[in-house]
Symmetry: C2
């Protein structure tokens, strides 16, 4: 008997290398805008999804999480770790991969790297929030925290909201220089700033993406003026926040999935019943977004499984008719499904 696996046994795998090729093939701004549209479309059919807070396994130095969801036709999950100390050891703080499966058969249809894809979808998610919540004439964004996520935030918000004026700040000047260099030539007007106060001067949107696993106060209350929209992205696990409680208290707060955000987001500083609006309800117009020019809106983003599902489905569609994947022999496929043992025996 041939050891060659049949077609059913094969699962397309998108490596890191192929994901980068796919991103360049599509164009990174187009990719980000497409992801934002996919996420918006899935948030608009929120009720269809099987939702559960992510399942985390915590250690002293980090967390490993599984984030599953399903729309009844496709099932997706992401594996993602969060290890802030990794950076000092030359490793990624966050790495991820994911799987998309056919609900009817339970067979996987895509296995993909998601370190890059998570960075892209996290940018796209902030862009969706900014589109629905920022002042309509927003022109300037302060980007606080210029690490691995910063360029994706800037580029996605530019692609979706047309914001091209960026004010950068990071406690580490080298991070700001890296971010400036990476964004050079991509159509931005960029100002590096030496304090957070300077960065948010005149900004209509403030995006905060820092990585320490602590209660941090990157922004204090007196720094935040009327009418701004804040994307708080970096606080994404229990015990980690970025904003002073007083800012959170006077903001209109928008979240992905409340049972998860109350444990992981900025609102873990607030009472359990502190009022929040689910972003999907703003997208479907079931709830109001920004209601006045002076209002401070806050997207308390922690990342939710549906965003990964949207991203996996998009990649699954996009790789068709491209060479940017290889087939993995992942599923045992005996001629007779009851004869798994015989398949092994004959393979000798």
């Amino acid at each position: 008997m041939s050891l060659k696996a049949s077609k059913l046994a094969m699962v397309p795998f998108v490596s890191v290398d192929n994901m980068m090729r796919l991103v360049h093939h599509v164009g990174i701004e187009t990719f980000l805008a497409d992801l934002a549209r996919e996420i918006e479309a899935d948030f608009a059919r929120w009720d269809l999804f099987d939702k559960t807070p992510r399942l985390g396994s915590h250690s002293d130095v980090g967390v490993i999480e599984l984030m599953p969801t399903s729309d009844g036709e496709l099932y997706g999950f992401k594996y993602v770790n969060g290890h802030p100390k990794n950076m000092k050891e030359g490793l990624q703080t966050v790495t991820a991969f994911g799987v998309l499966s056919d609900v009817d058969s339970g067979y996987p249809v895509l296995f993909s790297e998601m370190t890059i894809l998570t960075a892209l979808r996290t940018g796209a998610m902030s862009a969706v929030a900014t589109k629905h919540l920022a002042a309509p004439d927003a022109k300037t964004m302060a980007m606080i925290g210029n690490g691995a996520q910063s360029e994706f935030q800037c580029l996605a918000i530019k692609a979706v909201c047309g914001i091209e004026t960026i004010r950068l700040y990071d406690i580490d000047n080298a991070a700001t220089e890296k971010c400036m260099k990476n964004l050079a030539g991509l159509g931005f007007q960029i100002t590096p700033c030496s304090t957070p106060e300077e960065a948010i001067e005149g900004a209509d949107v403030i995006t905060v993406a820092t990585a320490d696993k602590d209660m941090q106060t990157i922004l204090t209350d007196n720094m935040v003026g009327a009418g701004v929209h804040i994307n708080a992205i970096g606080g994404d696990c229990p015990g980690k926040t970025e904003l002073h409680r007083d800012i959170v208290a006077r903001s209109s707060i928008f979240v992905e999935y409340p049972p998860q955000t109350r444990v992981e987001g900025e609102i873990q500083q607030m009472a359990d019943d502190h009022p929040v609006t689910e972003l999907w309800q703003v997208i479907t117009s079931a709830q109001a977004g920004r209601q006045s020019a002076g209002e401070v809106t806050l997207f308390d983003g922690v990342g939710f499984a549906i965003e990964d599902f949207s991203a996996l489905r998009y990649v699954h569609q996009k790789i068709k008719e491209t060479p940017f994947y290889i087939d993995l022999d992942l599923i045992a496929d005996p001629d007779d499904p009851r004869d798994l043992f015989g398949m092994i025996k004959r393979a000798r």
Copy 2:
């Protein structure tokens, strides 16, 4: 810049083909006996593990589950589906794959097919239960249900407990013929039987592994004599059982992880506080196993994450210094961990 991924970015992948090669390289009976030892060793340090019932996503036709666990040094999870209707469509009822990761960094260290590995560890698990619960002089086993799992059960119990006399029964005679053919030449004395009653005549151990997603009564009470040990393997999801309630009621019941077994196992027919013994406590001698020659012992096996963890760790050890894996470029590994975007940009 080279697109070549660095060593850190690489995760060993064991395909179906390579898993079969590994099994033959080790020898299937040795592999099963080794797995039984690994499972026993992990059950003996039960308290160290992070335990949670599996996370299932149910549809009308099946279930997709994630089964994570961690011992604090390694983290493992398995993806597994259960779709009884698949068999009629020429697909596997159960397919699976899994990942082992380093808790300290969150980086995956192994990605493996687990359809074959699950079949092997499920056999090994029954062998562990049979070793600790069956009568010491057990010589004959009835194997009820001769589908995909049957040969693994027979071979593992032979490897661990020395039981070589097998009586086979299945409602489908073709399944029994397949099982006989597969076990031929492997040192068994095999009798095919035309009724379940005939199969369990004189059997010291009864192993039941059937696949329908219904409340079935494969065995009725008057069929089961004093002193036997029963492995009930096939009832592994809500609404699916194999034994008549009266058999369960008069058996001493042993389980893997009660919060999961009460929902999925034979004991879902019983009251929520029906007494059960956790098998790990029998292994550590904290609780008694079989206490008299006439006692009916029942291992209500549903499969638990620690068994998969043991199997993944075993494969991770065994593939070293073999050619039975390929390296996958799964983890993005920029020179500067904060410069994920720069890595993508330079890859153009």
